[in-house]
């Protein structure tokens, strides 16, 4: 029993950390979905691209940048990449059939994943954690780095929330989520908002990719591993709502972590599906979605 309690506490701390990282990925996804009406299937691939960008930055530039420098570089590089993708692939599809960007992003996900597989191979890349210390936690050593990640992820979420609620561009983003046409009529530069949101979303995914890289290894499939959980978080959290996304991410993260005590491998995802189904039936707008999904 004591052992079980110990495991429970450890898993819930892990779940908190996974949930916070998941929130970063899902926040970009939900903003892109809310603002641009694009289900970005390639979002997980931007997360993976970020991890690879960080790995490359550390491998070839470790003399100049440290780990945290790599996080920033990956965020900026992938945000620029996302901006280029938005300009080239999604720009002309706005306002048309929402099917087209959906399929484009699905094709993009396949292409990016296979490109990573071709370039980097199947073997995962190892990235050393910047903080090797650990804190005693019951009778085992809990890596301090995981706790630092939580702080960093929470800080980035807070900054994002401040950006969306307190700045001019943030208000434009909210306005576009609420009513695209009306926002455009009131002089919000909607195409610029699209570009910004897509770039920021990709950058957030990339940064979270680098953050978790020292915990998991960096490989081509990491994007598709997280994307299903991110999808569930977005639907449960509610469209375009950052607090909802945060709550839902913590919920799903904890659920899968605690579920992993009883289940093995990727089976806890079945629990997440059950949560999703319950929400679809009883609360299709999600936890905090103020605009209906219907």
């Amino acid at each position: 029993m004591e052992q079980f309690l110990e495991r429970l506490v450890i898993e819930s701390v892990m779940g908190l950390q996974n949930g916070l990282v998941l929130a970063l990925v899902a926040a970009g996804f939900t903003l892109i979905l809310g603002v641009m009406n694009i289900v970005n299937f390639a979002h997980g691939e931007f997360y993976m691209a970020g991890a690879f960008a960080g790995w490359l930055a550390l491998k070839f530039g470790s003399a100049i940048v440290g780990f945290w420098g790599a996080v920033v570089i990956a965020g900026v590089v992938v945000a620029a990449f996302g901006y280029a993708i938005e300009r080239s692939l999604f720009r002309t599809t706005h306002g048309g059939n929402p099917f087209i960007p959906l399929l484009v992003s699905f094709g993009l996900a396949l292409v990016l994943q296979q490109a990573a597989l071709t370039i980097f191979g199947t073997i995962g890349k190892f990235m050393a954690p910047p903080i090797k210390a650990s804190v005693p936690f019951f009778d085992l050593e809990f890596p301090l780095y995981r706790i630092v990640i939580m702080g960093v992820a929470a800080l980035i979420m807070l900054l994002l929330w401040l950006f969306v609620t307190r700045t001019k561009w943030g208000v434009w983003i909210q306005a576009t989520i609420q009513n695209r046409e009306m926002a455009a009529c009131m002089g919000v530069p909607v195409p610029r908002v699209y570009q910004l949101v897509f770039a920021v979303g990709c950058g957030l995914a990339a940064m979270s990719g680098v953050l978790v890289a020292p915990i998991f290894s960096v490989d081509y499939s990491m994007g598709s591993d997280i994307i299903v959980a991110a999808f569930i978080v977005v639907v449960v959290g509610g469209l375009g709502s950052l607090p909802g996304t945060m709550l839902a991410a913590l919920l799903i993260g904890e659920l899968e972590a605690i579920g992993s005590i009883f289940l093995e491998g990727s089976q806890p995802q079945i629990l997440s599906l059950l949560v999703l189904l319950v929400f679809l039936v009883f609360r299709p707008n999600g936890l905090m979605g103020d605009r209906g999904l219907e």
Partner: protein, 377 residues
């Protein structure tokens, strides 16, 4: 203008670059030439004089084409070898899978990223009943089709509660969970090892038996099932119900205002699609004699989407063309590289951006005689 050239330029340059990167020069040139042929054919067709088009049109209608295809199908085992028979059977099954997706995507506008997983559910249903419980082949097939249809209907019933754009997300979650269940319910599905069945003999009212292990028998079975499925679906989608589906696709709100229960129609549509998907899954099982979890992978579901879109959504025959064409590309690329899907994915993106109607849809568009001015539809 800059946006347009970016949209066209970036994916095309990426495709050309990747092709030359992965393939030897000659093969890359050949592949790109084949791909460039598609727009060329469409352009040439659009230049045909109207008189010629009008004269030729009836021969491409179902009244002439169906009997010809039927006769070709019946006579195929007499002039094709075992390898070809197996190859064509596979094409037809892939086409059936893509067509069942087209019923949802092309006619109502519901994108499903779970079709490989749903077909896998059908195949597993049959395999489990045949091996673990020793059911007769017909009972096992019936159960498999029922299971696949029920699961698809269930997925549809949950997914219609949110806007269409979320439908894809929810199907993807369903598909990946079905994959996890197949992988981890080892006592039922043998996990990653997959399930092997002894190819059964299907008796038809004691008149004759179809030995599914025989190539010619299996060809007749597949051809019969796929041909009948196509004819049924074609008639079904032209019936009043099918017209309501298309009405929902064109304008969901207006269909609701006209008094149609949009959600019920959508669920019904997913059920129909699920029926044919699980039928295709059973055929896959009978063809290979083995079903593994890798067949339920999300990438495989994505391939089915690619087949339908490349062939042409909403045309019903297009998915067959798309499945054959993409399968041909896959074989061609497979000789040189393991990453065929990289090239195919880029080709898919270009198709959506430049010709969202797909191969068959584009051809139909230019093939149709333009109505005269003042005589518009």
């Amino acid at each position: 203008m800059i946006d347009l050239s970016l949209r066209i330029g970036v994916p095309v340059i990426a495709l050309v670059g990747v092709t030359f990167w992965l393939l030897p020069v000659l093969a890359a040139v050949e592949l790109l030439a084949v791909l460039a042929l598609l727009p060329l054919v469409v352009w040439l067709l659009s230049r045909l004089p109207e008189r010629v088009k009008l004269g030729l049109q009836p021969f491409f209608g179902v009244r002439y084409a169906a009997p010809v295809i039927f006769l070709v199908g019946l006579s195929l085992p007499f002039w094709a070898g075992d390898f070809e028979l197996r190859f064509y059977s596979e094409m037809l099954i892939l086409g059936l899978l893509a067509m069942s997706l087209d019923v949802m995507m092309g006619f109502v506008g519901l994108a499903s990223f779970a079709h490989a997983a749903l077909a896998g559910v059908g195949a597993y249903g049959a395999a489990i009943m045949l091996t673990k419980y020793g059911w007769s082949p017909w009972a096992a097939i019936g159960f498999a089709v029922f299971l696949g249809t029920a699961l698809t209907t269930c997925m549809g019933a949950f997914s219609v509660r949110v806007r269409d754009i979320y439908f894809g997300i929810i199907t993807l979650v369903f598909g990946s969970v079905a994959f996890i269940v197949a992988n981890s319910w080892v006592s039922m599905t043998n996990g990653e090892d997959g399930m092997t069945i002894d190819l059964p003999t299907l008796g038809f009212f004691g008149l004759f038996g179809v030995q599914t292990g025989e190539f010619s028998h299996f060809w007749y079975l597949t051809f019969g099932v796929v041909f009948a499925s196509y004819i049924c679906l074609r008639a079904f989608l032209r019936s009043p119900v099918g017209l309501v589906f298309m009405g929902i696709r064109e304008n969901e709100r207006r269909a609701a205002y006209l008094g149609y229960n949009v959600n019920a129609y959508k669920i019904f549509n997913t059920a129909v699609s699920g029926f044919f998907t699980s039928l295709a899954g059973v055929l896959v099982l009978l063809k290979n004699g083995i079903i593994g979890t890798e067949q339920m992978d999300v990438i495989h579901s994505g391939e089915i989407v690619i087949w339908s879109v490349v062939g042409g959504l909403g045309t019903l025959i297009g998915p067959f063309v798309g499945a054959s064409f993409v399968h041909y590309l896959n074989d061609f690329l497979g000789e040189y590289t393991e990453r065929a899907i990289l090239v195919i994915g880029l080709f898919f993106i270009i198709t959506i951006l430049l010709a969202p109607r797909g191969i068959v849809g584009s051809i139909i568009e230019v093939w149709r005689v333009q109505p005269q001015a003042g005589n518009e539809e």
